[in-house]
Amino acid sequence: MPASSSTSPPPVGSPHDESAARRNWLAILARTPRAALEHGLTAALPDGLPQFDWLRPPETGLAMVRGRVGGSGDAFNLGEATVTRATLRLRAAADIPLTIGIACLLGRDKRRTELAALSDALLQVPAYHQTIYTQLIQVQAQQIEKDREAQRRAAAATRVEFFTMVRGD
């Protein structure tokens, strides 16, 4: 998904916009390392993280990754990936309504999953949305785009051009 589409805060309004925006930040949270999540959240919430209840504590399991050959091939099972998922519910407080946060990340880092679910929940809270969006999501989106660009350059440097004579029949 294009990380560059997240440079401006998403419009908040219709449910469709909200779910597209949420999908976008969930995709970025799924690629954010633990240290960046810790740092981003503590910077946005200097008074400490809000209280929440686990609906599903972080649990690690396998998810089947499916692939499709080309655009029209049949789906096949590519292999299993280790994922950790969690769902939490923020406790209602002065400026926080009851909010659900989810995370499903590759790997088995439970703390990272917890922080990602917490970030997802707080991004839905109007009082915290702007801060976390600019301090965590935008920064990470730029980082992901930078890494991709570096990878693209490294790949492009090894590109080989094949030239063939065009023969007329």
């Binding site: 686990w54 609906l55 769902t87 009851l98 659900i100």
Partner: protein
Amino acid sequence: MSIPNHQPSHTQERMQWDTLPPGFADPVHDSQSVFRILLDALARPARLFRIETALDTGTTATPVAALAALYALCDFATPVWLASPNQALSSALRFHSGAPLAEQPADAAFAWIDDAAAMPALSSFALGDAESPEFSATLLIRVSSLSGGPELQCSGPGIETTQTMAPLGLPSGFWQARAELAGLFPCGVDLYLICDDTLAGVPRTTRVEEA
């Protein structure tokens, strides 16, 4: 297959996130220990077993034994039929067990019957067929008490001589209707009678005689 007209259409309801109770504290071990009790209850029919696993039933208004049994038994491959609409319970089941909700009793692998007096005929549930009797329904039925009702003499596999049971709150003619299914063996339905944190299993092999 006749469909009772009180059949609710609750299978497409939205999730109730605000009141969703948490599931088992330790999903693996708690569901294993509940499963063990459910197995024992069918292996020793008509005896009372207690579910001691702590579980928050939240706003589901469902006995802890029933909720624990549904969490332990159901998954994406076992449709669950709820006899009375219960949005909190359907949300909890869909979230914690991933089980789909069946529209009709005949489609269900498990059924939760909150009000035994209003339950549909036993023959409206899946009874399995001769080649695969395992595709039958398991009914979890709430009773007002597992003692103090009319005395029943139970015998059959898992019972050395006879076992007495006295559940209170089953409709009259219930055991008669169940006995009529005995001729279909190996097809039939298995029952769990549930009150609060206590349950008794009545598999299809058990003969139940009213005193």
